[in-house]
């Protein structure tokens, strides 16, 4: 079964602290994984995808097939990073499977 697990509902850090939002997945095959972000009162938007190996707004995420994880990291959190973050998986079908989301709060 395809599943995405985000164990933390809420993650609170102070500005400048490192951030790691956890994402684990269950999928038999080679998945495509993504992080979507939803800022307050804004629509959901793609943050980054593992195949691009990109860094967006200082965030990176590495696909670890051995641990079936795709954790989102940023070395120094900023207040504007406060948002809801969703990890998502796409398998062989045309659907995205979303995790339950993690709310990141960055305090000044």
């Amino acid at each position: 079964a395809q599943r995405v697990t985000q164990p933390e509902k809420l993650l609170s850090v102070f500005k400048g602290a490192p951030v790691e939002l956890k994402c684990n997945y269950s999928y038999s095959g080679s998945p495509e994984l993504f992080w979507y972000v939803q800022y307050s009162r804004q629509r959901l938007q793609l943050l980054l995808r593992h195949i691009s190996r990109e860094s967006i707004k200082g965030f990176t995420a590495d696909l670890n097939k051995g641990e079936t994880s795709f954790h989102l990291k940023k070395p120094f959190a900023q207040e504007e990073d406060s948002a809801m973050y969703y990890c998502a998986l796409r398998g062989r079908t045309d659907k995205l499977i979303f995790g339950t989301g993690t709310r990141l709060q960055v305090f000044p």
Binding site: Q6, E32, R43, L44, I51, D94, F98, T100, G101
Partner: protein, 116 residues
């Protein structure tokens, strides 16, 4: 381009009433999706469409119907609203599977629905 738009933005219904949520996209996307977002549940797929005239069930289709009569529009209907359908509804669209951009779903701003 307006991208993905949704109407209405907010609606209050009484139990048993019906309504239709409209999603429109002007990007010529093949695929369109309806999700509901609930606290602690994340985004759950209700129905989706891989092209004009086609629809398919997602994870939580019960109580909803959809139609894709035109490529740019995807309608979500509630025939008899229930309090359990109180949620924020998001529409999304993307290119077809043979596009290199297929994995990027473009989301609408959401519709808040309250069923009393």
């Amino acid at each position: 381009n307006a991208g993905v738009t949704q109407t209405p933005k907010f609606r209050v219904l009484k139990t048993g009433q019906s309504m239709t949520l409209l999603c429109a996209q002007d990007m010529n996307h093949e695929y369109m999706y309806w999700y509901r977002q609930d606290p602690g549940m994340g985004l759950r797929l209700i129905h989706y469409s891989v092209g004009e005239g086609t629809t398919a069930k997602g994870e939580v289709p019960d109580g909803y119907n959809v139609s894709r009569l035109k490529k740019q529009n995807f309608l979500l209907g509630l025939e008899s609203a229930a309090p359990s359908q109180t949620s924020v509804y998001f529409c999304a669209s993307t290119f077809s599977l043979d596009s290199p951009l297929v994995e990027t779903q473009y989301f609408g701003p959401g519709t808040r629905l309250l069923v009393l």
